[in-house]
């Protein structure tokens, strides 16, 4: 068990070291405060710098999975949250709360709560076999930005979008950079998955301040799955 933890710690170090070389643009933020104030409730304005990025490009094996996927299997019907990056692409608001050793991001969609463990506070690495819907996120402040690296995602057919079915493997890795310009929150992100993506998938968004509190989503699985009965399966019925 200790050995597993030690190995997990080494793996985390490798992951943490790896994101120093993230392919995200390194913009000059010398005038920005070391810890930007990102706390607040955020409502989408539009794509980063007004430019919508191209959709994720699946590998052949991922495209094959999508082609074979039958809609009734969609975990969304059972109120299972779409993992990032798809979760962030869905047009719902969210709230950021910054604490000394962590950042909490609560999404209106599906009431998802992500904890971003800030480096340098002794947070333990996740166990090597601990894969989760939203992965494990570690973050740091750098150049006026919050930089988050997330790994150890569980396999999910909605790997990169809430509305497509090419899956993400457990090798998926997402890097997010958040910063603030006035009342605008900005995100630049890149997601990589050697099994499912032909190339890194990049996108960015901008959000503005929202004053109303988030609404509970309180997803009702019975209501959610109701619609599945109307879909025609692409496969013949069993006899």
């Amino acid at each position: 068990m200790r050995l597993a933890s030690a190995i997990g710690g080494v793996a985390l170090f490798v992951i943490a070291a790896g994101h120093l070389s993230t392919p995200l643009d390194a913009q000059s933020t010398s005038a920005a405060p070391a810890i930007p104030n990102l706390t607040g409730i955020w409502h989408r304005k539009g794509p980063l710098n007004g430019k919508r990025e191209a959709p994720a490009v699946p590998t052949n094996r991922a495209a094959g999975f999508e082609k074979a996927f039958d809609d009734a299997y969609n975990p969304t019907y059972d109120c299972s949250p779409t993992p990032i990056p798809g979760l962030i692409n869905d047009n719902y608001d969210f709230q950021i709360t910054q604490q000394a050793d962590r950042v909490i991001i609560q999404y209106e969609k599906m009431d998802v709560v992500r904890t971003i463990w800030l480096e340098g506070h002794g947070h333990p690495a996740p166990a090597r076999n601990d894969y989760r819907n939203q992965g494990h996120s570690f973050g740091r402040y750098e150049g006026g930005r919050l930089v988050i690296t997330t790994t150890q995602f569980s396999f999910d057919p909605r790997g990169f979008s809430a509305n497509r079915w090419f899956p993400a493997s457990a090798l998926k890795r997402m890097t997010e950079q958040y910063w603030r310009e006035g009342d605008t929150l900005k995100l630049d992100s890149v997601t990589e998955d050697p099994l499912s993506l032909k190339q890194p998938y990049r996108y960015g968004w901008e959000w503005t301040v929202r004053t109303e509190p988030l609404l509970p989503y309180d997803c009702d699985p019975a209501d959610s799955r109701w619609g599945a009965q109307w879909h025609k399966s692409k496969y013949p019925p069993d006899k």
Binding site: N74, C79, N163, L214, L215, Y217, D218, D220, S224, G227
Partner: protein, 134 residues
Amino acid sequence: MRTVAVAIIAASLGWAAQSFAHHSTAYYSKDQKDFVRIQGTVVRWEFRSPHSQIYVEAKDADGQVVVWRFESTPAAWLIREGFTQDSLSVGDVITIEGFAIPGQLFAWLGKVTKQDGTRLLPQRSTATPDWWKP
């Protein structure tokens, strides 16, 4: 008097769906023959997620009382359009239009018009046909 009128409206230019649905809603017809406009009474109103629901009692073409279920976007999206829990009450007489599952009493909500003329209009979604103009 509660009546049911199934209307076929003329094709017109629309605009692309601006938002995703919670999951695919391809089972709702985008065919103009399946468009419905109904005058009836709200018997149940669920302002919730993942889909809000309006149940409307009305008479069908044979004079039989039926209950239609109109599905819409989550509460978090409706509220952005000023469509809140208080926008409707059980007993309200409304005109409601939407896009039905063929042969069923289920439809995707297009628009609600209250007796005082107030219009309640959700965001367009992937279930809203391009030809429809509110």
